[in-house]
Every structure is written in structure tokens, then in C-alpha cells.
Amino acid sequence: MTLVIENISKKIQNKPVLDNVSFELKNGEIVGLVGRNGAGKTTLFGTISGKLLPDFGRVGLDDLDYAKTTWLHDQLFYIDMPENWFRYYSPKKIKSILKVSYENFDESWYDSEIKRFGLNNSKRIRNYSKGMRALFTIIASFASRAQYVLLDEPLDGLDVLIRDQVKQLIVSQVTQHNTTILIASHNLVELDTLVDRILLLKDQTIDRTFTIEDNKTIKKYQLAFVGEELPAFLRDSGTIITQTGHVVTIVFNDFSEELGIKLAGPEFKFVEELPISSEDVFRASFAEEAFAWQQELEVES
């Protein structure tokens, strides 16, 4: 089964938040969703899950219209973070509700994970720490045994040890149950270690889908220039991440052969290509905005 998101558009208070968003999620995939703050990630999650009604477009499970086939809704788990109804109930009560709601709810796994992480079964979730609340939400999500799980900032507020456990939970969920997981996160370093591909939400739409391994157009370089001034073409074609004296680390959004020839020229003492990460792709994608801010800062100072 494939979850198909087709030309979804959504305005909130007359302001377009999503515009023609389209992508597909296949079984057993872990997909990251990144974008700037307020880019519409949570709105997209809300629209996929049925919480929000799209102005245009379709969410489908293969050829079926997901919104109209409510009997299939236990195949998708999504809960708002951090404000949700879990806060007012204990894990015990939540289990009784989720058992009715999700046909394949795995009660024994739920109980064992609650026990493993030492979560108090009769204490209301709002009395848990922020990290424990996030951990509980992930346990509840996976215990639902829904085919599709949408996680909004799942690693937010977790300490390193719990974060490792959660990442392990995510991976084992996918390997053992072939679950498809869509993760929205600002923590791109963590995403790199988890996801198969990343969807970048920019200008109200999916601007690009990328995998670090298959990426050909985005390149990261460390280089030292010769003259007093940074060669102008660098600013025009890339995003400068750091600059210490004459040494610059730069990401090129659309690396071309012509750019390679320029870098091999006499203007540079040395040029070295560095391994690229999702953060680099993110920076490169928002190079114009970062450049505009940089200009503003320079004008102010």
C-alpha cells in the first residue's frame, strides 16, 4: 500500500500554507520532513491525518480516497505534539482507548515498553517530564501498529541515552513491522542517521526530495583564496558556512562543471571537497534568505 499525497493546498486564515504539495510514502520507508519554522510541516501532518480539511488535492491509500474511507484510518497514527489529550490520562486509560481505536493495537508490546522505560502506568502523562512525554507518545504511536506513523519532532527534549533508545525503536519498528514513518524534525544531524530520504518544504511546497548518497548537485568545499577579497562568484553561487581569514567553508546549491573549473583556478591556494550532510543541503536551499540576513546584519553594523 502506498500513501499518496496529491496536489494538497491549504490556506489558513486566508494565507497559503501549503500549495500543490505532492509526494508518496511507500511501505517500510523512513522519510524526513524538513523546513524552516512555520514552513507548514505541522499543517501538512494535520492535513494528511484528516484533522484539517484540504482546500484542494487528495490524500489517498493507493487508489482509495483516505478522507472518505474512514474504516482505513487505523492504518495511520498521528497525534499533535506537545498539546494533546494524552496529557490528561494515564497510560492505563490511554491503552483502553487505543485498543478500541486501532484494530491491531499491540497490548503486550505497549506494556513491556512502558515497563522497560520505567514509566508510571497510573500517573497522568502531564505529570511526566517533557522527554518522558515524548517517549510515551512514540511508544503509543508504534503500539498502534498503524502502517503509517507521523512523528512531529519526536527527538525534541530527549536526553542522549533515551534518544538512542528511541532511534532504535524507530528502526526496529520499520524492520520488524514494515511500518512507514514520516518524521518532521529540525535536528538534521539525527535525521541523517535515520531516514532513507528527506523532503524539503519550502515556499509552501515540496521543493526537493533528496538523499545524501544520491545527491549530485549540492557540494561542500573548504578552500583558501589568494587575494585580499573573497572572490565575488563564491557569494553569488554558494552559501558561506564559515570564514576564518582566507579559509572558507562553502556549500554550492547547484554545482556545475563551470564552477569546478573556477575553483581550480589561480585564485585559490587549496580546494578540498568535504562530505555533505542534510544541514548543508538545508543551508544551500535557504541560501538566499541567509544571504539577505547577512546583508542586513552588515548594514546594521
Binding site: 491549504k10 489558513i12 486564515q13 499543517t43 494535520g46 491525518s49 484528516g50 484533522k51 484539517l52 480539511l53 474512514t70 474504516w71 482505513l72 484510518h73 487505523d74 495511520l76 498521528y78 497525534i79 499533535d80 498539546e83 494533546n84 489529550w85 496529557r87 490528561y88 483502553s96 482507548i97 478500541v100 481505536s101
Partner: protein
Amino acid sequence: MKQAIKLYTTIRKNQFIMASLLGIFLIVFAVGSNLLFRNIPNQETDYELGPVLMVVWLIVTVIVLLNDQSRHLDTWLYTQNISRGQLFLTRVILMVVGPIIAASVIDICLTAMLEYHNISRVLMVDITAAANLFFISSVFIGIFIVIGPNWMKAAGTVFTFGAGIMVGPIFNNVLGSRVNTDTRILMVTIIAALVIFIAGYYCAINISDDTLDEAVRIRYLKWPVVIFVFVSTLTVTMSNPNRNTVGTFLAGFILPLICAAVTFGFIFKPTLKVTWDK
């Protein structure tokens, strides 16, 4: 539908138990008083349990519905394997129709056991109360769906029923001349309630959760709500018989204008820019 009822009763199990206990307490109290006072001469044994039970249970309904929204339960229920329409119907059946019917049945059964000679009168009282409360519930459900934030729902409900109580007698006079029997009034009340419920159902299936923070969640109803506030307040102020001079007549517009302006402010959130720049 079965899944919607099962899910909602599981979530609200504790509240249903609480409402039942409250009902049992009222029944015991009513039956106890009846048995205690029935042998005392000239003592009224009319306890009107049915309407009391209906009102108490409908108050629980109001609290539960407001609670559903503040706990973000509505939001989650929209993502579940029940449709928005099924959720609406489940709530109407379990929280409005159920309590009204249960209260009537309990009252009629107890009357049949304890005061059989009164049964036809109690039956009439229960039917009248049921029809009126069904109508009041339909208006509340309408407000619950159309108005966004909980405090505005509460304020809207108080305003609507307050205006209704004051304007009611005027309409009764008008209606009374046209609808001249109690049965017809009951029929009109029930049909009006059903129409409001059907409108509520239509709105419930088409409202997206992103409008939850808006004062009026349906665009087309924003101006009608402002006009409703103005007209209902105006009807109340103008019903005062002392407005027979131009001055008092114009003064009658002050309160409606203030109420309508405040409502307009909450609904349309106009921003006034005060600046010295040209």
C-alpha cells in the same frame, strides 16, 4: 457508527458513570421525598423528576463537550476511523437524545409505580420538557460547532438564551395567535430543533480544525452573527414600553450598537493603525 459509539463511550466512561450516579442520587431523593410526604395532608407530592434529571444530565453534556475541546480530544477524534458526521451523531445520541429519553422513561416508570393516577399529567410534563430541552440543546450544539474558543461558546450561549428568555414572550404572543394548541407548539419546537441539528451536522462535517481559534468558524456566518447580536439586543431594548419619545427611542439603539461592535471586533479582529506619518 457502532465504532464511533464504542470509542466515545470508552473515552467518556468515567463521565457516564458519574452522570449515572448523579441520576441515581436524584431518583433516590425524589422517591424518598415522595414516600415521606405522600401521607401528609395538603402536601404537594409533585417532584417532577423527569425535567430535573434531563437538566442535570444536559449540564453534564455541556461540561463534557467543552472539556473535549480544551483537551484536544476533538482534534484527535477527527483522525480516527470514524467520520466527522458519525462523531456528531454519536454525541447527539449519547449526550442529548439518550439523557432526555432515559429521564422521561425513568420518570414515567416511577410515576406508574408510585402515583399511577398522575401518569397522564407527568407524561405531558415530560414531553413538553423533552421538546423544549431538545430545542435548547440544538441551539447549544449549533453554538458549540459554529463558535471557536470555549469561553466564546459559553458567552454566546448565555447571550442567546438570555435574549431568548427576554424576547420569548414577544414571539409567544405572535406564535400564539397562529399556533393555537400546545401540541402544535410542541411540533414547531421539535421541527425547529431538528432543522438546527441538521444544519449543525452539515457544519460539523465541513469544518476544518484550523478554524478552532476563530470566533466564528464558518466564513458565511460571520456577518449573520453580528446582525443576530444587533437585532436580538434591539428587540430586547425596544420591547420596553417606555420608548415612546424620540430620545428614548434613539437611546434604545445604544446597547445594540455596543454589543454589535464588540461582536464585530471579536469576529473580524480589525486592526487600527494610529500613526503620525503621512
